[in-house]
C-alpha cells in the first residue's frame, strides 16, 4: 500500500523524468518485470516526448509571458535609451548607470519611504480589520450572508470607480468628508492636495479596497478549523479571547501567512488608486515606486524608459524578497 502510493507519487512528481520513475516502479520486481522490460525497450523515448508535449504549453507560456518580458525589462534598465535609440536600436550598454541615477535621484528616498509606509500600514489595517470581520461572521446570525456579500463590494468595483469616488469624497472644496467634518466643527482638510495628507488619504482608500480580500481568505480559513476544538475549549472553560488566542490564531497561521504575502505583493505594486487620486503628488508626497516607475516611463512628455525600468525592477526585487521570506517561514512551520 505504502510503496505503491509512493511510486505513484514519484511518477506524478517527475513528469519529465521517466528515468526516476522506472526504478521506483521496478522495485517491485516480481510483479512488474515484463512491464518494466517492455518500457525499457520502447518506452523512454515515447513517454519522454509525451512528457515534453505535456510540458510544452506551460513552458512556452512561461517563457513568452514571464521570462521574455522580464529579460526585456532588465535589458531596458541596463542601457542608456534616448528616444532615437529606443526606436532604432543601438542603445549603449551602461551597466548599472540607470540604477545609480535612480538611487541618487531626490525622489528615491521619499518614494522608498512611501512604498514601505503605504504597504505596511495598508497591510496591517487590512489584515486586522479583515480578521475581525471574519471572526465576527463565523457567528451565524440573521442577515450574516447578505452582510458578508455586501462587504465584497469594494473588491468587485472597478478600481477606476472606487478611486474616483474616493477622490471626489476627499476633495478639499466640495468633498463629502470635509462637509461632514464641518458639521462636527472641524475645519476643512486638504486631503489630496496637502503634502502631509496625500499619503494617508491614499492609504485609507487602499485599506478600504483591501479589506474584502483579507475577509474572504481568512473566513474560509476559519471554516477549516474543526468546530469540536472550540467545543472542547469551551468545555474547558476558555473565554472568548482565550479561544481566539489559543485555537483560532495558531490554526489560522498558514492561511494568515499566505494572505499577508499575497497582500504584500498586491500592495507593493498598487498603482491605479494612487495615480487616479493624486498622481503621486503634490510634488512627490504620495509617490511610491509603482507610480514613480510609471511616471518615468509614461507620465511625462519625454519618456525615460531606462530609469523607469530600473525602478520597476527594484519593485520586483522587493516582491521576491517577500516571497523568499514566506518560503522560509513556510518551511520552518512544516519542519
Amino acid at each position: 500500500m505504502t510503496t505503491s502510493r509512493q511510486s505513484a507519487y514519484r511518477l506524478a512528481q517527475t513528469p519529465a523524468g521517466t528515468a526516476s520513475a522506472v526504478p521506483a516502479a521496478g522495485r517491485d520486481r516480481s510483479r512488474d518485470k515484463t512491464a518494466a522490460a517492455r518500457r525499457r525497450r520502447t518506452g523512454p523515448r515515447g513517454t519522454q516526448w509525451a512528457a515534453w508535449g505535456f510540458l510544452a504549453p506551460l513552458t512556452i507560456y512561461l517563457l513568452t509571458f514571464y521570462a521574455y518580458p522580464l529579460y526585456r525589462n532588465l535589458d531596458l534598465s541596463l542601457r542608456n535609451y534616448t528616444v532615437y535609440s529606443f526606436v532604432h536600436g543601438g542603445a549603449p550598454f551602461t551597466g548599472f548607470a540607470n540604477y545609480t541615477a535612480v538611487i541618487h535621484d531626490p525622489t528615491f528616498v521619499p518614494a522608498l519611504e512611501h512604498t514601505l509606509v503605504f504597504t505596511l500600514v495598508s497591510l496591517a489595517f487590512q489584515f486586522a480589520i479583515g480578521l475581525a470581520l471574519a471572526v465576527f461572521f463565523t457567528q451565524h446570525f440573521p442577515l450574516s450572508p447578505i452582510l458578508r456579500a455586501l462587504f465584497l463590494v469594494p473588491w468587485l468595483l472597478p478600481l477606476i470607480v472606487s478611486a474616483s469616488t474616493w477622490a471626489w469624497m476627499l476633495d478639499s472644496g466640495s468633498g463629502v468628508v470635509n462637509y461632514g467634518l464641518h458639521f462636527i466643527g472641524i475645519g476643512p482638510v486638504d486631503w489630496l492636495t496637502s503634502p502631509s495628507w496625500a499619503l494617508p488619504s491614499v492609504v485609507i482608500a487602499n485599506i478600504w479596497i483591501g479589506v474584502p480580500f483579507n475577509l474572504v481568505l481568512l473566513y474560509s480559513g476559519l471554516q477549516a478549523i474543526p468546530k469540536d476544538l472550540y467545543e472542547a475549549a469551551a468545555l474547558d472553560g476558555a473565554t472568548a479571547w482565550q479561544r481566539f488566542r489559543r485555537v483560532t490564531w495558531p490554526l489560522l497561521r498558514p492561511v494568515s501567512a499566505i494572505t499577508l504575502l499575497l497582500g504584500l505583493v498586491y500592495t507593493l505594486k498598487v498603482f491605479d488608486i494612487i495615480w487616479i487620486m493624486t498622481k503621486g503628488g503634490p510634488v512627490d508626497s504620495s509617490t511610491t515606486f509603482a507610480t514613480w516607475s510609471y511616471r518615468l516611463g509614461f507620465g511625462n512628455l519625454l519618456p525615460a524608459f531606462g530609469p523607469g525600468a530600473a525602478v520597476g525592477n527594484l519593485l520586483v526585487i522587493m516582491a521576491l524578497i517577500a516571497g523568499f521570506i514566506y518560503i522560509r517561514v513556510q518551511r520552518r512551520q512544516s519542519a
Binding site: Y84, I160, K279, S285, L302
Partner: protein, 407 residues
C-alpha cells in the same frame, strides 16, 4: 458630479477606439491615431476621417489615446515597425518624435505648409526641417461669469493687470463666491496653464529661478492662501476646473478655446478677457493644438495615399469643419477669417492665437519637456506649501539645468 468625474477619468485613462469601414471591401486599410478620445465613432470628426478615406479609396482605422499616453504608444509602435500612417500629435512633442526619427519631414511627405501662420508652424520645426501641419490652434484666456461679476460690482473691462485682477478676486470673495479656477496639476496641463503668468511677468523658460518667475508663482500661491482659488486646483485638470466654473459659483476660469461650445451650454452669461500681464496688456499665451504628422513607414509606397488623406484633412473647407468640431482656431489666416465671419465672438481668440508663443520656441526644442516637468513640479510644491515659491523655482532650475545638460 460623481458620474461626470468617473467619465472624465475613464476617458483619460484608456484609449477608446472607433473604426470606420465605409470604404469598399478589399481596399487597403490606413491607420490614424489621434488624441481625441472624447469623439466616438458617430462624431463629426470620425465621419470626416472616413470620408477622406473613401475619397482616397482606402479604409480608415482610427484609434484614439489620451494625449499623455500617445507619445509612448507611438514610440513603442515605431520600435515594432507598426507606426500609424497618420498621427495627430500635441505640438510640444513633435520635435521630440522628430528627434526620435519617427516622423517624415516635408521634403519626404510633400505637405504644403505655406498657408500656415509662422508662429504656429514653429512648434513643428526641428533642426531646420518641418515635420507636420497644425490641424488648428487653441490657447488660454479668462472666461468670466457675468452674473457673479455684476453681483460683486466688478467691471471686467477694468481688469488690465495682475493687481486689478487680484482686486476683482477679492471683491468676488467678499460677495461669497469663489474667485478663479485653474489647473495646476502635475502634468503638462499644469505648465500650460502657468505659462501665461510666467511669461506675463517677463520670465523666460531658460531661467526658471528669476525674480519675475517668483513673482508669477507668488501670485498663484497668494490666491490659494487668500482663498481666491480653491485648494483643489493642485489636482484639477483643465476639464475638472471647467466643471467647477460651469457649476456657476466661480467668477473666473482660466481655460481654453476648446471650452467655447461648453460655455454656451453653461446656463449663465459668460464673457472672455485676455489673460493680463503683470504690468498691463495681454500676456503671451502658449499655443496649444495638434499637428498632423506622417510617421516613417517601411513601405514608402503608402506615402502617396497618406498625403491625399492629410491634404483632405487640412484643406481649407475641411479645416474649417474640423476646427469647428474641435472648437479650435484655424491655423491659416483665410480660414480664421471665415470662422470670425461665422462667429464674431471668436475674434478675441484669433487675436490671442496671433500673439501666442510656441512652448518649444526660444530654441528649447526637445529640452522643453524636461524644463516643463520641473516647472509644474515647482508650481505644485509652492501651491501645496511644501516649499516657498522662490525655493521651489531655484530647485526646479537646478534640476532642469542638469536634465538638459545631459544632451
Amino acid at each position: 458630479m460623481l458620474a461626470a468625474g468617473a467619465t472624465a477619468c475613464s476617458t483619460s485613462s484608456s484609449g477608446s477606439s472607433g473604426s470606420g469601414s465605409s470604404a469598399a471591401a478589399g481596399g487597403k486599410t490606413f491607420t490614424i491615431w489621434d488624441p481625441y478620445p472624447q469623439f466616438d465613432s458617430s462624431s463629426a470628426w470620425t465621419t470626416l476621417l472616413n470620408s477622406c478615406g473613401s475619397q482616397a479609396g482606402v479604409t480608415i482605422k482610427r484609434t484614439s489615446y489620451d494625449t499623455t499616453d500617445l507619445t509612448s504608444k507611438v514610440l513603442l509602435a515605431a520600435q515594432q515597425g507598426v507606426a500609424p500612417d497618420v498621427l495627430i500629435l500635441d505640438n510640444p512633442v513633435v520635435s521630440t518624435l522628430a528627434e526620435a526619427g519617427v516622423l517624415t519631414d516635408t521634403t519626404q511627405n510633400h505637405l504644403d505648409t505655406s498657408a500656415v501662420q509662422p508662429n504656429l508652424l514653429g512648434a513643428g520645426e526641428y533642426q531646420g526641417k518641418t515635420y507636420g501641419v497644425p490641424i488648428g490652434a487653441n490657447t488660454l484666456a479668462l472666461y468670466y461669469n457675468k452674473n457673479i461679476l455684476k453681483a460683486a460690482g466688478v467691471d471686467p473691462s477694468t481688469i488690465t493687470d495682475w493687481s486689478s485682477l487680484t482686486a476683482a478676486l477679492a471683491k468676488v470673495k467678499a460677495a461669497g463666491k469663489t474667485g478663479i479656477t485653474l489647473s495646476a496639476i502635475g502634468t503638462e496641463e499644469g505648465s500650460f496653464q502657468f505659462e501665461p503668468w510666467f511669461w506675463g511677468s517677463g520670465a523666460n523658460l531658460t531661467k526658471l529661478d528669476s525674480a519675475q518667475a517668483a513673482a508669477a508663482l507668488n501670485l498663484w500661491t497668494s490666491w490659494l492662501k487668500d482663498g481666491y482659488a480653491p485648494n483643489s486646483v493642485i489636482n484639477d485638470t483643465q476639464t475638472t476646473s471647467w466643471q467647477e466654473f460651469a457649476a456657476g459659483k466661480t467668477a473666473f476660469s482660466e481655460n481654453g478655446t476648446w471650452q467655447l461650445s461648453n460655455a454656451a451650454k453653461a446656463g449663465f452669461p459668460y464673457g472672455i478677457i485676455p489673460i493680463p500681464a503683470e504690468n498691463g496688456g495681454a500676456a503671451p499665451v502658449p499655443t496649444g493644438g495638434e499637428f498632423v504628422t506622417l510617421p516613417q513607414q517601411s513601405d514608402t509606397s503608402r506615402y502617396t495615399t497618406t498625403e491625399k488623406l492629410v491634404s483632405c484633412l487640412t484643406s481649407a473647407d475641411n479645416a474649417y469643419n474640423t476646427d469647428s468640431t474641435l472648437s479650435y482656431i484655424a491655423a491659416s489666416g483665410a480660414v480664421q477669417a471665415k470662422q470670425v465671419d461665422a462667429t464674431p465672438a471668436l475674434q478675441v481668440w484669433v487675436t490671442a492665437v496671433h500673439s501666442g508663443k510656441a512652448r518649444t520656441g526660444d530654441d528649447l526644442g526637445t529640452n522643453y519637456p524636461k524644463i516643463s516637468q520641473q516647472l509644474w513640479t515647482a508650481v505644485q510644491s509652492a501651491l501645496s506649501g511644501s516649499a516657498s515659491p522662490s525655493a521651489a523655482l531655484s530647485s526646479a532650475q537646478s534640476a532642469a539645468a542638469s536634465a538638459t545638460s545631459g544632451k
